[in-house]
Amino acid sequence: MKTKSQVQINKEWDIVGARQMGRELAKEMGFGTVDQARIATAISELARNIYLYADKGAVTFEIEEDLNKKGLKIIASDQGPGIADLSKVMEDGYSTSGGLGAGLPGVKRLMDYFDIVSEPESGTTITTIKWVR
Amino acid sequence: MNLEIEVMENDEKQQVKLTGEIDAYTAPKLKEALLPLTKMGNTTVVVDLEQVNYMDSTGLGVFISALKSTKEYGSELRLVALQGRVQRLFEITGLDSVLNIDSTVRGGK
């Protein structure tokens, strides 16, 4: 069975709400302190991107259960401008620009699984998973 | 090493006053400031080099680009008040024969 919860991101305050929900789920699932902090930081980056560059969007949490492992899946989706050059955004060094997508390489490092789909003018969906160690 | 670029517009002239050194580090900044002026068309761009005590060959490259651009847009480029070393560089390279250079004019008055 999958547990699903969602936080809408409209204002800066919602970033904190998303972090909090993510952290509580992570704690319940048995993530250690360091991983909890990593998950919260990843959520911050994802939610900030939505808040700064897309009119609206949401962060969705799902508990993934595989045969022998358990993980927290975080999906950030928006209907914003989209990212034209994904390889550019995923390059190290881009994060200093502070522009759209900055910090995504960091999210990839913080999480165990990372996937991004983006269409210019129609929005971006980023799917990430962290497995309980 | 630094270069200050001061642009003043008066009559049909664009006065550009440079202070400092023109080298590989400052040349891109000079190019960025100078090229748009040359593209305005029907104008004279006067570059005052009195306060430039050092220029290397990268600086020559910038002025050659600017010259080609002024020709394209029907403008004119003049370099004034060149100091010893800078003047010598234009003479050695033969670029004094294609650029409008006046080393006697002080401050473009």
Partner: protein, 332 residues
Amino acid sequence: MEPLDVKNYRSLLKKYIDSEDETSLYQADQFSKLSIQQNISPEEIINVHIQALQELYPNLPKEIDLSMNFLLETMISYGLAYQEFQSLREKQGEIESELSVAANMQDTLLSTTKPEISGFDIGAISVPAHQMNGDYHHFVIDSSKNLGIAIADVIGKGVPAALAMSMIKYSLDSFPDSLRTPDVILENLNRVVERNVDTSMFITMFYGLLNPESGLLQFSSAGHEPGFYYCAKSDEFHEIKTKGIVLGVSESATYEQFDIQMEVGDMVVLLTDGVTECRVGDRFIEPDEMLDVIRKYMHLPAQEAVDLVYRHFERLQDFHLRDDFTLIFLKK
């Protein structure tokens, strides 16, 4: 020591807290270096610290625990920045090694053999300021046994300059012997450069043609830094006066040809602006100072002499060249 082993860290921490000794601090230093080598991020170290602390002092006030968690959270982004820095450093290493392959290739492409000509002694040195050399010199002997000497400087440095130089070299090689007088060579090269190279890039070149039998040196210059002629009879240096515009600016440029009759004991000095624009502290060396240095070594065999002049200037500039340095001595 195993990094991130909580047990080890705990005993190290305990030892320090009990004795406040320098040895433990030194071991902490080693621990930190080892962690960096193994890509351990700062938040993980803090986490080990928190665990060790809780095991050693189970009854610490809650405020301490919370503050340690707070510290851990604030270190996450530092950890990320550090990892990004590591990955950029690896990338930089890749770029540097690619560049050094390119520099080696340039050396091979632009290599020239210093010829042995009876009655003359030739020395040549060319040292790039960075990896790629924007200076170029070339010797060629034509079918009538005349020696052609080219010395050139590309305006604009680094990789683009090196690419432009390869073009020059292959154009030079492709001119037939019948077109080998300096004025004609420069006129032809000018057209090649004008057509092919970006407007802000141009090349200065001195081209000389020596008849070793007669000692007559004919030459033309395309805006190149003037060389010097040492006349043994008067024991004086003279600047080699030429006139001609740099290659690549004016489509229809032509070049005047000059000549010097070399006598025994005379010497021609060819150079690039990396030699004349040598900076000592805040000032440039004066031409006379440079000639004094040349005079000091010129009695030596030509190759030894140019090497020693280079060493002299290298030391004068604190072993940090600002510009590519090329120097040629041609002694009769």
